[in-house]
Amino acid sequence: MTGQPSYYVMLFKAVSYALKAEKILKAEQLPHKLIPVPKQISSDCGICLRFESKLRTRIEDCLCNKVEIADVCPLIK
């Protein structure tokens, strides 16, 4: 975990959307990680997808019209 890549998180309206998105990204072999929604973004007990900033466009293109995305925002540690 050195070199500290910067990350974005993608939020969804429902957990099931996050899981669907994850399946698609797995199939496309786009690196990502399912994590709890960071506290500073929402205090809800939700999950979101975290990915490296450089992958943002590819991931968004990939999920476009397939999964409803609520928000994409930078992850501030």
């Binding site: 975990m1 957990v15 996050a18 899981l19 990680k33 399912l34 994590i35 709890p36 999950i47």
Partner: protein, 204 residues
């Protein structure tokens, strides 16, 4: 020859009595701590034992106890990092252990359970207070295998000094021993021993 340092900790809530007792025994050979509740009595006693002191206790009138701590000859000056626990149970001084008995968190829905366990590991890995030991058995061992979604977090925990014990019988049962990605292959003796010593035992 040794003078007794008196610490009056009556009316004080945990962890004050233990903190005062610790400060006193670091500077004196012999300390008498006066407390007025059972929790403080147990905590100060435990501190004394942990620091290698001779401990004697005496109940006085009015629910007051006197605990005398005497540093044994040659006993080292107490380490400054002894944690002060406010738990009255005697076991609270043992390691913080997390037991993963399944590759899921909670029961009811497996898909959700596997999402939750991943979120759990991610959060534990990022938390300042990490467990001392993590134990994996039954389907829990799958979390430690190569290709597991939780492997990265577990490796981070291992690198931070968390001891990771993985049930050998379980790896054998699932025929995945060669795929172990983190931790050491352990056995029931170590697992039971660690669980028995645990100050806190948590199961996700």
């Amino acid at each position: 020859m040794s003078e007794i340092k008196i610490v009056n900790a009556t009316g004080l809530a945990c962890p004050q009595p233990v903190v005062l007792a610790k400060e006193a025994i670091e500077k004196n050979e012999k300390v008498k701590v006066i407390v007025d509740n059972e929790t403080a009595l147990e905590n100060v006693t435990r501190l004394g034992t942990k620091l290698g002191c001779d401990v004697s206790r005496e109940a006085k009138a009015g629910g007051v106890f006197e605990i005398t701590l005497t540093r044994r000859e040659g006993a080292p000056i107490p380490a400054p990092d002894i944690s002060v626990s406010c738990d009255a149970s005697a076991a609270a001084s043992g390691p913080f252990v997390i037991v993963c008995a399944e590759d899921k968190m909670g029961r009811g829905n497996d898909e959700l359970g596997s999402v939750l366990i991943r979120a759990f590991m991610h959060t534990i890995a990022g938390q300042a207070e990490k467990p001392d030991v993590m134990i994996f058995y039954n389907t829990g061992v799958k979390l430690t295998l190569q290709g597991s979604e939780t492997l990265e977090d577990l490796k981070e925990l291992a690198a931070a000094g968390v001891e990771i014990l993985v049930c050998g019988t379980c790896l054998n049962y699932f025929e995945v021993k060669e795929k172990l990605g983190v931790g050491v292959v352990s056995n029931m003796y170590d697992i039971v021993g660690t669980m028995s010593r645990a100050g806190r035992l948590l199961t996700p």
